[in-house]
Symmetry: C4
Subunit: 234 residues, 4 copies
């Protein structure tokens, strides 16, 4: 019986969408969040261009991993193809969020990766948050949304997407992910804050180096992995 599990996911995806608005990461209808049920092969995503006010879990659109809409009369987010590409390429992730949050987008526009300048960053991202290369005219003219997914995957050829759960798409904005919609929403919030801090720190001291690897690992690993000591025991 799959219905209970999808309604739970729809609710979690709705909450992740609302969280991006509550945290000031989204204005107008710029963002979208999705989640996946790996067992059922089902993706749940925000509908396209629908106001956040009064949005319900039932308005979330369900598709399969190829983007076939399964149970909703609303169109899915126009960025669905990018979400699907990420779910297919990164098996460990359970949710994807796209926003145009101010400072992450500024860094994406400037094509400036976000170096790890402090422990705020290290607590959530194990190293630099990269920028994709710009898309080619051919990629833009073709299946643009899928190409956006492909260029993100290319950028992570030698990175672990669960250690650096975010990317800046050049000239566009951030995509963020996590094991759950909840975690992806938190990563989107932290990304915006570390982007804000990095912009200001680099303006004051353009040659600022990243923090040393031992400090980066100390912070990342106390919140993540088998030996995490942060928070309360499960």
């Amino acid at each position: 019986m799959s219905a209970p599990s999808l309604s739970h996911l729809k609710e979690a995806v709705l909450q992740a969408n609302l969280a991006t608005v509550q945290h000031g990461l989204v204005i107008a209808t710029f963002g979208n969040a999705s989640g996946i049920d790996r067992d059922q092969g089902r993706v749940v995503i925000k509908p396209s261009g629908v106001p956040y006010d009064g949005m319900t879990a039932d308005a979330m659109v369900v598709t399969d991993l190829e983007g076939q809409v399964l149970d909703n009369r609303l169109r899915p987010s126009s960025d669905l193809g990018t979400h699907l590409a990420l779910y297919r390429a990164f098996p460990g992730i359970g949710a994807v969020i796209h926003t145009h949050s101010t400072f992450a987008t500024i860094m994406a526009q400037a094509m400036a990766p976000i170096p790890c300048l402090g422990t705020t960053h290290a607590d959530y991202f194990r190293g630099e948050i990269p920028v994709t290369r710009p898309l080619t005219p051919e990629e833009i003219a073709g299946d643009y949304v899928a190409a956006t997914g492909a260029v993100i995957i290319e950028t992570f050829a030698d990175r672990d997407p669960l250690e650096v759960p975010a990317v800046l798409v050049a000239g566009h904005g951030p995509f963020v992910w996590g094991r759950t919609p909840d975690q992806a929403a938190l990563n989107a919030l932290i990304l915006e804050e570390v982007a804000r801090m990095a912009w200001h720190a680099l303006m004051l001291r353009p040659d600022l180096p990243p923090i040393p690897a031992p400090l980066l690992d100390r912070h990342f690993l106390r919140k993540h992995g088998a030996d995490a000591t942060y928070g309360q025991p499960a």
Copy 2:
């Protein structure tokens, strides 16, 4: 019977005025929004210097396209003459909004056009948002408010005002428009955000080029025009 249609317009113009305040685009009484009923040749605009708090649709002032006040004892916004010039010159627009929103005004003060640095911009504005030339002492000494309209129209001699629905008046601030008061209010909000992003991106990387034309068109055209795919079918 024209009354129903004008009360609808008055309500829409009131809401556009209130939206500029709710979105943080206006402090004190700096802004004004208007709308036009093209069939009746009637413009509805905010009264001058009246507090936003407790403002009602009935307080909106009705004029004809020459600025003759028709049914209200309140003075219209002191910028009425600029709104009228835009309605006469740009037949496709249905609403005009003027604000002194922070970053759009900063760019207007710096006389820096806002290049299209990302898809946030491209989704709403097809290319650079221009700055007018400064007014001459003669224009300032004469009918200053009408001259402000004229210099905007001059700036759009080779631009389509529905593709770039905003301008920065040098040393002053933004004028924004749209097909409806609702759309103009959304454009005013997006303009402020793209101005904020452009200021920060240009400070970090002063030589940053605009995004390539294919990406600009891809984004603009998926939200606008006959082949738009964004949002839900009408």
Copy 3:
């Protein structure tokens, strides 16, 4: 019978104090607002170091123009001496407000006067908002609060305080005034906004010149003076 008039003033001074907090110009207990009844020779000012939350009109302290406390058991604001100096030197003003609002204070710290870069500024201040010279060690060691007043007055030797109703005290922050507490509170809000705009515009374009005198006068005079056309007829 003078009591009614002072209770009106106490209420207006309370509201001006609360407005500085509501407009985000004051954190902790950094600000103070006062008003004067010229006929009675009485100044009403915020008490020192009292929280804004739950502050009442009755908590306002009444003094004469020499700073003698007349009807309150609370100590007046520690900046009283500066307010009094301004009331004695500038006969046209009816209220004084001191804040440490963020951008006005930043400009005061940088000892950077705020040039008139746009009409937002020109609508309220007829030209540059000046910075005082730093106080000498002797002035600081002596009656520091009165010396702060004296250096403001010195800065206005060749300026009309009603045309430029604000000053930045070097290394300290802004003092703002107006004909009424209401108007002074509005000037304090606009000052912060024009300081924010000027900081950003000057960072982007350090050599930016002020707007031409005709535009400055056009805007200032449409809101001020005998020929003002802004707002509704009295």
Copy 4:
């Protein structure tokens, strides 16, 4: 009978934790506040990784000065060891707060001490707010949290922690303290504001000198010490 006094302290520590959130100094679960009862040798601190929403005084964790947890089943904040080191080294302090507040963290990332550029700073901090040296790889690999405390103490070898009640830990963020949780929370708020002001003032004028010593002392001493004149008599 010690219980009443600890419940008072737990409540004060809870309020200090909540204040950091209300003042926008903390996002997610980045911050922690503690207080000490010197007579009983007991420290009360926020639990680790617990959401602020719905947090109660009873959730606060009690430890001794060696970090032994005494009466709570929740894990204490992972930064407890830093708090304890400060309590042992600085006998005059009664509360410690750690945040990643935006501008204080930006300065910590840029390893830029905050010079005293104005009276906003001087009212609460008698001179420059220092940055620690970076920790060595050995310190990071060892007892990292205690080493963070040790490097703060080293930085204050020639400073009075009650005259400069804050420090920026290089590449990390601020630690702030005070005689009481209330005072530490206020210092954390003021620190963020002076960091914001310093960043902006230094961007506009990189060579800006600190304010002269007499002005610094005049402001610091009117709010602190035996001759303080600010506020109401006790």
